[in-house]
């Protein structure tokens, strides 16, 4: 059998990459990947192929050969005709579908980690600056494990009486109310959530909820209640302890000297 041309090989590799991303990663082993991300990855694949074929002149010429032949070779007039019909037709169809496509509503680009204010507040009480305010029970972890445990237990109760409707039994953001919420509730089992923010940050987000988001956090659209209306300061700190205890992820701390 004739060895396929370099052009064909590249074309096949390109398509395979797409299939891999779209159906294997985005289907068999995980959830579907958004088109824009696939597009980004495919652009990279395209660049990679382009780099590979064009970095050496001989290979570049070999790659271009079928294109050249199709364009000018006397013996390839049928093929040329086919492409001369096919490509404009494809372009025609492509343009049509693009124009006729129904517009989709704008997504909800939301600031996931809004900028916290300088001071941490509970109602009107200033608890310190965002950097410095600490969980008053955190130190028990080292110096009084019993008390620490009891605070975690309190936190557990607070969580299951208030939070789990949305954030779920397993703290994975899949509570029984979660389906109808947009954006979805935070998933504390995600390693990107707890370890990236300080306890004071969580205190702020819990106590002020969706309505307490700052202007720089717009366009916000969070169903998170203003929990300071329902919970005491201690309860909020305790529930933060519980979150980290249950998931095993520690909120961000700031090392010595800050």
């Amino acid at each position: 059998m004739k060895k396929p041309s370099l052009f064909t090989i590249c074309f096949v590799i390109f398509i395979l990459c797409w299939v891999f991303l779209r159906f294997f990663i985005g289907g068999v082993i995980s959830k579907p990947i958004p088109n824009s991300v696939i597009l980004m990855y495919m652009a990279l694949v395209f660049i990679a192929i382009l780099v590979h074929i064009s970095v050496e002149d001989t290979r570049f010429r070999e790659f271009l050969r079928p294109i050249h032949e199709t364009l000018v070779d006397e013996n390839r007039s049928t093929r040329r005709l086919v492409f001369a019909v096919l490509i404009p037709l494809l372009m025609c169809g492509f343009t049509y579908t693009n124009i006729a496509k129904k517009a989709n509503p704008p997504g909800d680009p939301r600031t996931v980690h809004p900028t916290p204010p300088d001071n941490l507040m509970y109602k009107d009480i200033v608890l310190g600056t965002m950097d410095k305010a600490e969980n008053p029970f955190r130190h028990y972890e080292k110096d009084n494990p019993e008390a620490y445990k009891s605070h975690i237990e309190n936190g557990r109760t607070v969580y299951y009486q208030n939070c789990f409707y949305c954030h779920g039994d397993h703290l994975d953001g899949k509570g029984h109310f979660a389906d109808a919420l947009n954006p979805l509730p935070a998933n504390f089992q995600d390693p990107g959530v707890l370890p990236n923010f300080s306890e004071s940050f969580f205190f702020w987000r819990i106590s002020k909820g969706g309505p307490g988001m700052p202007a720089s956090g717009t366009p916000w659209n969070s169903a998170m209640p203003i929990w300071e209306d329902y919970l005491t300061q201690d309860e909020i700190w305790e529930v933060i302890l519980f979150l980290s205890d249950y998931t095993g992820y520690k909120p961000r701390t700031f090392g010595e000297g800050h």
Partner: protein, 637 residues
């Protein structure tokens, strides 16, 4: 000078005129500032104050970066030429400085324009800053003088000071760089102070300590001196002003030595080298593309290669410097850090990732293309697809955003089960990004290593062992980096930021250093089989060089936007609020537009200056040194 044509003279006068104009504008800073405190803001016609200041500042900065970066490697290359007695190096260095000369006056002029705009539009801010930094501004003027003077001596004395006086000429070059670096350090104080007007108590001068203490006590009468002093050494002192009187409580040094000053200095120093190299390379690429003769092509191929090499040298440590800067910002103010990485500017960093990806891919592409003109480089070609794959996969991870909410449709989000992809979301975390960037750097380094080795055969009898050692070091290094990266998902961010990431960087650096050393020894007495056919580069690779320069420029512009925008609604963060009409952070898209406009202006100006440079050259036919069988890498060792 007497040998100069009349046109050259004209040019010189033009340049001096520009410089003087800039200088005059500059020197009136304090005078202006004192009188204008009554008006807080004045509008700039048509485009508004902020945009005016933005354009002027960014252009000034780009030119400044160029004129600060280029002399650094010009001197080094001149030195190499002196030691190796190869005239072509000397020629190239001189050509670099000629490029510099044209840019220098433009820089000065733009600086003047900037100061004028700032003084006109933001008198209150300028008065406040000049109140704090008065002495440094004078120092700056002195330095500027020194720089101008030295540059002229250096440039116009080039031909005269050949031979016996070469040592002195080189000294001038070094002096030029000292002036230049100092200038940058001084001007950095002003803008870093605006971003992070704070330092640790322990680092303050005695005067500032005392002043701050007094002020704190006066503000909190219930506290005693001992109470305030307790545990205060590590505290961040954010406000060195008496808010009621506006008096500055410390010495100038206290304002200078703020959190981000040094990181910005280092970051810019390295960045300038990379930027300068890439602009030089772009210039060479342009000359290559328009060159008519073989000799010319060979020369500019070689020059482009060197420019790109310098840019790469700067590019590799740049992420580490950036990481340090980021860390200091987090240290200064956590909110600002979160703002930078997670909130306001997080998308900017995705764009940055895309650009850095382009830079790395482009740089590698150029190296691989270059191997096409070396005989005997073919044996490394078989590794290329793997390296392409590694780089592309790493860049893919590097540019994968954490949150896809703004680039995915609602139904895609529901299919993913949220705005984070359950698996790709992991790529969005810092530890993944750090890991891949280290791997990309190592791969780029490997490309360079191959390039260096192309056409050479080591004669050392331990060459096989050496290769095995080098391969295992690479392998181990990558494994360690990946393992650290994976561990990074599980640890607290504090540990990750302060322990794991530095270790990753150290491992990458160690691999590069050790491998370089081994490689140098291995190839010490290498025989050469192939020759470099300078001028044999493809046109494609030259376009890549130009693309790299453009990418660099936009990148600098965007990062400038981030650094400046981090202050949000403040002129001086936490000290002086921005109450002007522009007191909001522009959106990313408007920033991108702005940066693009600035980039176009910049390249237009650069093109004009280069054209000016060509002007004088047209008449005299340049003697281009013939290329011998040596590789350049050797020369750069």
């Amino acid at each position: 000078m007497c040998r100069c044509s009349s046109q050259t003279k004209k040019r010189i006068f033009l340049i001096i005129g520009f410089v003087l104009l800039g200088f005059v504008l500059f020197s009136i800073v304090p005078a202006f500032a004192q009188d204008m405190t009554d008006a807080e803001y004045r509008p700039f016609p048509m485009i508004g104050s902020r945009n005016a200041a933005w354009i002027a500042a960014q252009l000034h900065l780009l030119f400044g970066a160029f004129i600060l970066g280029v002399p650094m490697f010009a001197v080094i290359i001149e030195f190499i030429g002196w030691k190796t007695k190869e005239e072509r190096y000397d020629r190239m260095a001189q050509e670099f400085i000629k490029l510099c000369m044209g840019a220098f006056s433009t820089t000065a002029l733009l600086g003047g324009v900037l100061v004028f705009i700032l003084l006109w539009c933001y008198p209150k801010v300028m008065s406040k800053l000049s109140g704090i930094f008065g002495p440094t501004m004078i120092f700056y003027v002195v330095l500027f003088f020194g720089e101008t003077f030295t540059l002229y001596l250096y440039s116009y004395g080039w031909d005269k000071m050949q031979g016996r006086h070469k040592g002195w000429h080189l000294f001038l070059g070094v002096l030029l760089n000292v002036w230049g670096t100092a200038i940058m350090f001084v001007s950095n104080t002003w803008l870093t102070y605006q971003t992070s007007p704070a330092t640790q108590y322990g680092k303050l001068s005695e005067k500032a300590k005392e002043g701050w203490l007094e002020y704190t006590l006066s503000q909190n009468p219930e506290l005693t001196r001992a109470e305030v002093l307790k545990d205060v050494t590590d505290a961040t002192v954010t406000n060195l002003h008496n808010e009621t009187t506006g008096e500055f409580l410390g010495t100038v040094w206290d304002a200078v030595n703020n959190f981000t000053w040094m990181p910005v200095n280092i970051h810019r120093l390295i960045g300038n080298i990379a930027f300068g190299g890439s602009i030089v390379a772009a210039y060479a690429a342009f000359r290559f593309l328009v060159a008519k003769t073989k000799e010319e092509k060979a020369h500019y191929d070689w020059m482009g290669y060197n420019g790109n090499f310098i840019a790469l040298c700067g590019l590799i440590p740049l992420p580490f410097a950036g990481y340090w800067l980021g860390r200091e910002i987090y240290m200064f103010n956590n909110t600002m850090g979160v703002n930078m990485m997670g909130a306001l500017f997080s998308w900017l960093f995705i764009i940055q990732a895309v650009m850095i990806g382009i830079l790395f891919i482009g740089a590698n592409y150029y190296l691989w293309s270059g191997m096409g003109r070396i005989e005997g480089a073919e044996k490394y070609a078989r590794y290329r697809p793997i390296m392409i794959a590694i780089i592309v996969i790493c860049v893919g991870i590097w540019m994968t955003p954490r949150t896809l909410s703004s680039i995915s449709t609602a139904s895609e989000q529901s299919a993913m089960g949220g705005s984070n992809h359950p698996h790709l979301g992991w790529f969005g975390l810092m530890t993944a990004k750090n890991t891949v960037v280290n791997i990309v750097i190592l791969t780029t380094f490997l490309s360079f290593l191959f390039y260096r080795r192309s056409g050479k055969h080591p004669t050392a009898n331990w060459k096989n062992l050496g290769n095995i050692v080098i391969s295992s070091i690479f392998f181990l290094g990558v494994v360690v980096i990946v393992v650290i990266g994976i561990v990074g998902f599980a640890v607290e961010s504090d540990v990750r930021v302060n322990v794991l990431t530095p270790w990753q960087v150290l491992v990458a650096l160690a691999v590069m250093v050790v491998v370089t050393i081994i490689d140098i020894f291995m190839y010490r007495k290498a025989t050469t089989s192939g020759t470099i056919k300078w001028g044999g580069m493809t046109d494609r690779s030259q376009y890549v060089l130009i693309l790299l320069a453009i990418t660099f420029t936009s990148l600098m512009g965007l990062m400038g936007y981030a650094r400046s925008g981090l202050r949000e609604g403040w002129h001086i963060f936490g000290v002086m609020k921005d109450t002007s009409v522009d007191a909001y952070t522009p959106s990313l898209s408007s920033a991108v537009n702005m940066v693009s406009i600035i980039m176009v202006i910049f390249f237009a100006l650069v093109g004009f200056i280069f054209w000016l440079g060509l002007w004088g050259e047209k008449k005299k036919q340049k003697a281009v040194p013939t290329m011998e069988t040596e590789t350049l890498a050797e020369g750069n060792d």
